[in-house]
Symmetry: C2
Subunit: 123 residues, 2 copies
Amino acid sequence: MRIGEVAEKAGVSVRALRYYEEQGLLQAGRSPGGQRHYPDTAVGRVRLIQQLYAAGLPSRVVRKVLPCVDSGEEKAPPELLDQMAVERVRVDQRITDLLAVRDQLDDVIAIARDPDSDCSHVE
Amino acid sequence: MRIGEVAEKAGVSVRALRYYEEQGLLQAGRSPGGQRHYPDTAVGRVRLIQQLYAAGLPSRVVRKVLPCVDSGEEKAPPELLDQMAVERVRVDQRITDLLAVRDQLDDVIAIARDPDSDCSHVE
DNA sequence: CTTGCACCTGACGTCAACGTCAGGTTCTAG
DNA sequence: CTAGAACCTGACGTTGACGTCAGGTGCAAG
């Protein structure tokens, strides 16, 4: 597959794919003329990258996590595992933050919809 | 309170506070000499702003949400409420993404710790 | 009145994750 | 063989949330 097809199937821009390669997140073979070509698995990998980005993980984290997730998990060296655990904690913290924010939004929405209900969070 | 004290109590930089004012997120009175002074409530408001940022909300969302959360929720016009609902959905989506990522991390960590357990997610 | 720290206003720098434009090449269809 | 779509490599532009530096001012203490 060439870059355009991968981009379309994965729902990202061609520029993004070249950027991922530049960042070492996605390898590509080259045709004699210099054009990139990807295996079918590339689409899935790009989707994975997108998922990690969508979750708000910074690129340095993606860089650390990707090799573990796709290139056979059993090869992960212990120090890398520690990093993963650290990131796991960070993700968890972020989830907690988001839940709190969601609750705040729910409060405001509920109060606005039904002003007579008491504002219990102020006590 | 002057800006330095607020910054320290809220755990952010002085520059950040000036930035918030510039963005219309945080008002401040001025001394005759031109120095900003804040009420005690400013610290809490800054913490709220930080929480929203920490959750990954973009500034435009914070801009929309803040007036509802602190200046008396009952005044919120319906169109603003719709926006809040939209953002609520976005936050929810983000939580879902993060949960998926966390599960992936857990999988990788679990497999690495205990390679004999079967990789059930691949079936 | 002077020292000196906290404060002020610009204004340019930074980093990430691409967008976009310029100028040239490769590949495919007819 | 030729048009033109898809690709290539730089390289500069963008947005958000500030960092940082320059050059000047407010204010409490001695």
